[in-house]
Symmetry: C2
Subunit: 298 residues, 2 copies
């Protein structure tokens, strides 16, 4: 496979799953009609971002790997003949729930899934309460779709160069990040700008370090905290598609639902790795420290 | 130490070491007079970039750790009462030469050195011929200057998130990259732009991933290949100082010799690590793959 036309969906979510899925389907259909061969949806796109607060009731939102949302995704992939990457709140067993990305091929078969490995937990993003971290035995491993190897990661994973690197060393040809990230509305405009820039920069850097294209799908829109404990989250959009030098091919604004579309030359990865041969020079003899939590002062 | 005023020198080098050192001294003096407490010089600032071609004669440019250039740096640090980070072509023994960064405290004492660990080698940057890679026993370790811990790395190291991460896990408070990088003048303006953007992005990303300020000092100016084998290198300047969210505090242009000056709040690192606690969440149980060269397809 030399070239692939990719699409990223940026969407506003509502409390109504059927509304969200109907809108996602419409976006996926439009992307496919515009020539997309691969479509990436945002993290947890079937629901509003329920991790803003902690209640046992929210576990009722979870679905099994073969549940309703997964069935929908499978149907869309087959109907529109595209590779589709979606995201679900997965119920694996009573007491074990994951934040899971699913990959379907253009025949609608699920060819793999990825359970989020790095789990955040901070005010308004209480994910450690809901999600059991993915096991090492499964992630970080690319998912094969025919000849294509997808490095699917999820949201918080985006801040960790380690995850992207391991995917690249295992042969990933694209890095994909469904995500749900936003601003605390009490932050200043300057703080918000710095946060969004940092987020774009770190993900572009995974492209640079590994010479891989990067796709990022975020939600947008404001979602209030129904417990009125926090001020709510303004999800910051800015979804993007970057080429294998981190160059921005497409980027969304902060607030608009939209489809980003970009054709990617997969052969550029090898061209760049010949010019900038980082993989030849990694000091694997000197990286043991990466397996440490911290080096305490003596 | 709460705040520190830092300076980065961007300089054009000539074939004459005494000219280069005299100019560096002038810049260091100006930076100190402007309030800098710490000054970073570019990579191999005493000479032109001799790695453009390969000849045994060039090993004559190397100096011991206590050689002439190091003595000069020591004197300037003491005279101007600043922490000074310089760079030499080090002769360690006949047949063992390194690309070495030196750190002097404000009394002019050498408090540590770093031997470049990742060594490039590609047309016009034939460093594997000249430089023995630094040993694991020495790098990657921060250098202490009083209460301050400096994560000093050199040029090609900048492309490797692994190096920055290990420095951060060992308590570095600043990341510093003396560097010598430029364009092949046959590349298109668009290719040159993508290269410079990638270079800025990857180094800003080390700030983002680790919540550490980053200082980068590059040379500028055109240096021809005296063997006339290659077209020569236009060193691309763009030296910069970034804050701990990767925000650009100062950035130079492509061609002008100059001093960048920025005050850095060292306490911002902990503030940010409380808000974005990546270090809590690193999956050290799942990072073994980072010690692999590659995972060959089965």
């Amino acid at each position: 496979m030399q070239n692939i036309t990719t699409a990223v969906i940026q969407q506003i979510m509502t409390p109504d799953k059927s509304v969200n899925l109907a809108k996602s389907k419409q976006f996926v259909a439009e992307a496919a009609h515009s020539g997309a061969q691969l479509v990436l949806l945002p993290e947890l796109h079937a629901t509003r971002y329920f991790c803003q607060w902690e209640t046992p009731d929210n576990f009722s939102l979870a679905e099994p790997l073969e549940g309703f949302t997964a069935q929908q995704l499978s149907q869309w992939a087959a109907e529109f003949k595209i590779i589709l990457i979606g995201s679900i709140f997965e119920k694996r067993a009573a007491g074990i729930y994951h934040n899971t990305a699913l990959v379907f091929n253009a025949e609608g078969q699920r060819v793999g899934f990825y359970r989020k490995m790095h789990i955040p937990h901070d005010p308004g993003f209480y994910e450690k309460y809901y999600f059991t971290p993915g096991e090492n035995s499964l992630g970080f491993s690319p998912i094969s779709v025919g000849p294509l190897k997808l490095g699917v990661l999820v949201c918080w994973d985006q801040w960790f160069p380690e995850a992207a690197r391991i995917m690249a060393l295992k042969g990933a040809q694209l890095l994909l990040y469904p995500t749900a990230i936003g601003w605390d509305i009490h932050d200043t405009a300057q703080q918000q700008q710095r946060q969004t820039d940092a987020w774009t920069t770190i993900q572009r850097s995974h492209a640079v370090a590994n010479h891989l294209p990067v796709l990022v799908a975020n939600r947008c829109g404001f979602e209030e905290d129904p417990t009125h404990t926090l001020a709510g989250t303004q999800f910051w959009g800015h979804s993007f598609i970057a080429g294998p030098q981190g160059e921005l091919l497409q980027q969304a604004d902060a607030k608009t639902e939209q489809i980003l579309l970009a054709e990617i030359e997969l052969t550029q990865t090898e061209t760049l790795r010949r010019i900038w041969p980082y993989f030849r020079d990694r000091r694997i003899d000197a990286y043991d420290g990466l397996l440490q939590r911290y080096f305490d002062a003596p």
